[in-house]
């Protein structure tokens, strides 16, 4: 593989838009039972208690140990029955009746009943649970028999199905099976395809096949080990040498090279709803002016960023809603230098240009590249951007305290419903509209309204309105949507990630 060939390959993939892959898992031939798989990730699991986490590694790992009543459909269009084999909703969207699967056992051998369901949901609704706000609409949970659960809501709430599919609402044994929370964290029990084997903090966590798994024949794998390797280059080296089977989150530049190289490795990308924003502090100086914000948004060449920094693994954003969950429309965000200049000219005292600071994460090469591209673009409007770096663990704290002017922020969806993301323009929420402090009171009733509609079409109409208004106000500039990526050994089959990041690990198998 000559330098020239690789360079050529890299250049070619810049223009191609390779990010349109759907979440199909390839299956060459029949799945083999047995085998072990090692996956390298950049961060370790924080906790195995569903109520205690908000970070992706913990969430995605827990999803292999515990399961919810309903599960997201892989294509992102809605939910499918899971531990609940069926459900009905009252016309007023207030009463939800679910029938449980029969004969589902926990990994310790005990049978799952409606008692466990009630306890788990109530536990997840307590004030100290990280995602308890999603369960806020719940008024009461009744369990008429072992396999029936009736949930009554305070108001009409269409997204409730998606809420039941949340990882935090996974079903675990009532009362932690008699143990304390700490003990449960060390020896968790769930209905998922895997159980905890061993966990060395900071190094690796090993999950073993759940012999009692209620889906017969699955999972294929005997074990899944997640190792923690912070450095992307190290992960790449490891997957190249065969030391690991999957490199989760490789650098985009290496994706293109591996793809053209072929051989023992292959690349995979799946739509993920991961959205990157340039957030602007709407209360700061020039950024108070909507013309300035619009100008900045128009001045960013999103397509160029996707091809140069993401090597084509992404889509230029057109709205602050991602494309992998229904309700996304083209709300008008795009690259148009002429429009940018026109907008800035209307801003009065800022028309001649001004200086502004852009906050990025230190050590984040993508941030650095994107920041410099934006810096060069805005220079054409006489806007002088100073790039500041800060520690990745504190960047969101800095942004949330309002001590910034412009900064990068990203979000990934946790629920398979547009309700989560649409509220990112709602200034009343804790993150104050992606830290922008944007507040448009006209929008306030629209969010509740959208959640209260029974028909999907009605909801879409409302959400489209919200996107148009928020985008017109340019409260942030959405940059791009990027897929979830991986470099994997060609021996691995059936590996994929879904719309809210969940692994298809039960269907994954490895040639051995």
């Amino acid at each position: 593989m000559t330098l020239a060939a690789v360079a050529a390959a890299a250049v070619m993939t810049l223009s191609a838009c390779a990010g349109a892959a759907t979440g199909t898992s390839e299956s060459n031939g029949k799945p083999q039972a047995g085998g072990d798989i090692t996956i390298a990730r950049s961060a370790d699991v924080v906790s195995l208690l569903p109520t205690a986490v908000g970070d992706n590694p913990s969430i995605w790992t827990q999803e292999l140990l515990y399961e919810p009543l309903l599960k997201p459909k892989p294509d992102g269009s809605g939910v499918q029955p899971w531990l609940a084999k069926s459900y009905t909703v009252s016309k007023d969207l207030k009463t939800w009746t679910l029938k449980l699967q029969q004969g589902v056992k926990f990994s310790d051998g005990s049978t799952m009943t409606s008692k466990d369901v009630k306890w788990s949901l109530e536990r997840a609704s307590q004030k100290d649970a990280q995602y308890e706000s999603y369960n806020e609409p719940i008024s009461a949970i009744a369990i008429p028999d072992d396999s029936t659960v009736v949930i009554t809501l305070k108001q009409a709430w269409a997204p409730f199905a998606a809420t039941l599919a949340l990882f935090s609402n996974a079903i675990i044994p009532a009362n932690y099976g008699g143990k304390s929370a700490d003990q449960f964290n060390k020896r968790p029990v769930g209905t998922g395809p895997f159980t905890l084997g061993s966990w060395v903090k900071g190094q690796y966590i090993k999950l073993l096949k759940n012999k009692h798994y209620w889906q017969k024949g699955k999972p294929y794998l005997n074990s899944v080990t997640f190792t923690t390797v912070n450095d992307a280059t190290t992960r790449l080296t490891q997957v190249k040498s065969g030391e690991i089977d999957v490199d989760e989150a490789p650098a985009y530049s290496s994706m293109a090279a591996i793809k053209s190289a072929g051989g023992d490795l292959k690349v995979g990308d799946w739509k993920s709803g991961h959205t990157d924003y340039l957030t602007m502090n709407n209360t700061y100086g020039p950024l108070k002016d909507v013309h300035v914000r619009r100008a900045i948004s128009y001045a960013i060449d999103r397509k160029a960023i996707v091809s140069n920094v993401l090597y084509g693994y992404g889509e230029a954003a057109t709205s602050y809603m991602p494309t992998n969950i229904w309700s996304h429309i083209d709300a008008g965000e795009k690259y148009d230098m002429a429009k940018a200049k026109k907008e800035l000219a209307q801003s009065g005292k800022y028309a001649k240009g001004f200086s502004v600071e852009l906050l990025t994460e230190s050590g984040n090469d993508d941030h650095k590249a994107v920041a410099q591209i934006i810096q060069a673009s805005l220079k054409k409007l006489n806007i002088d951007v100073t790039i500041k770096t800060t520690d990745p663990t504190t960047i969101e704290d800095t942004e949330s305290s309002g001590e910034f002017q412009m900064g990068f922020v990203y979000r990934t969806p946790d629920v398979i419903d547009p309700d989560q993301f649409i509220r990112y323009s709602d200034g009343r929420r804790t993150s104050h509209a992606l830290y922008s402090n944007y507040m448009n009171t006209a929008l306030s009733p629209m969010y509740e309204n959208g959640a209260a509609q029974a028909s999907k079409a009605d909801r879409e109409k409302i959400y489209a309105q919200i996107q148009k208004i928020a985008t017109n106000d340019a409260f942030v500039a959405t940059l791009y949507y990027s897929p979830s990526t991986a470099i994997l050994s060609s021996k691995v089959h059936g590996y994929s990630t879904g719309s809210v990041g969940e692994y298809s690990m039960a269907d994954t198998w490895i040639e051995h």
Binding site: M1, L3, A4, V6, A7, A10, V11, L14, A232, T233, L236, A251, S253, S254, A256, A257, D301, A304, S307, N308, S362, G363, D365, K368, A369, A371, Q372, I373, Q375, A376, T386, I387, K388, T389
Partner: protein, 292 residues
């Protein structure tokens, strides 16, 4: 009177001195090689930008990673910027900061060291305890912490390095001063009625400078390393201003796809400059040694 050494009192007549001085430079390979290399480096950094018409910040995204060619002598980086221009500009930035970051510790250290050695007593004790405190901290940790607190950028780097490295100069100068003040001409100056500040500035400091000057050369080399390290951690120069450390760390991830230019160019340049400065410093040391 000690005549154990052959050259004690056997001092050449004044006529021979000029010849002797010239001879010392001629045989001094490090000085010659170092000076030549240093002059070359300075010329390149001063005028290298005129080779082509690009500047260090202009991006050309479609032309990213283009190979070495007539238009781009070292190719382009990941954002399509000309690597040669960034190398030249970055070199200027780095060397300037590295040199500035030597000047302040030098001046501060020499003055404090001379005062410390000349006066002795509690002045000496206090200054040396200060020096001990400053040098008790691990060098890089202190620098990184200071820059973190002061914010990234050239100014903070210079301040941080000054705060930490004045100690070496002070100690060097102090010990030389101690030796010097035992010389009889210092007693003579005192009895002739010269003021202490005159003695220190006109006689002590000029005599103790040579060692520090040599050390300063190697200090510049070390400072380049410090700036490179700081930039690697994002604490140094802010983009789009290029700097060799950042160029190297930016280019690191592209090794996997066979793109080495971004990292190799500044890496090799840093080695060349360090070599030039080291040789030059060694050469000066040799020169001063033979003349004494």
């Amino acid at each position: 009177m000690s005549s154990a050494n052959i050259s004690a009192n056997e001092i050449p007549a004044a006529e021979a001195s000029a010849h002797a001085r010239g001879h010392r430079v001629r045989g001094n390979t490090e000085l010659i090689a170092g000076s030549i290399l240093l002059v070359l480096v300075i010329l390149v950094l001063a005028f290298g930008q005129f080779i082509n018409h690009f500047d260090y910040a202009t991006q050309n995204l479609p032309e990213a990673f283009s190979p070495m060619s007539a238009t781009h002598p070292l190719g382009t980086d990941n954002l399509g910027r000309d690597i040669w221009q960034r190398l030249v500009y970055g070199g200027r930035v780095d060397l300037l900061i590295a040199s500035l970051a030597v000047v302040f510790p030098f001046v501060l250290g020499v003055i404090l060291g001379a005062i410390s050695g000349f006066f002795g007593g509690w002045v000496d004790m206090i200054l040396m305890r200060l020096a001990d405190i400053a040098s008790a901290f691990p060098f890089y940790i202190l620098i990184i912490s200071l820059v973190f607190v002061l914010g990234a950028g050239a100014q903070s780097i210079v301040i941080a390095i000054t705060f930490v490295s004045w100690v070496a100069y002070a100690r060097l100068v102090r010990s030389e001063t101690l030796v010097l003040t035992s010389q009889e001409f210092v007693t003579a100056l005192r009895t002739e009625g010269f003021t202490t500040s005159y003695i220190i500035t006109r006689h002590v400091i000029p005599n103790v400078l040579s060692q520090s000057a040599i050390y300063a050369m190697s200090d510049i080399v070390m400072n380049i390393g410090v700036i490179v390290t700081l930039s690697y951690f994002g604490l140094g120069i802010t983009p789009p201003t290029p700097d060799w450390g950042q160029m190297m760390s930016d280019g690191q991830q592209f090794f996997a796809v066979g793109q080495y230019g971004m990292t190799l160019a500044p890496g090799i340049a840093a080695v060349i400059v360090s070599l030039a400065l080291s040789w030059f410093g060694d050469g000066i040391a040799k020169l001063l040694k033979t003349s004494n």
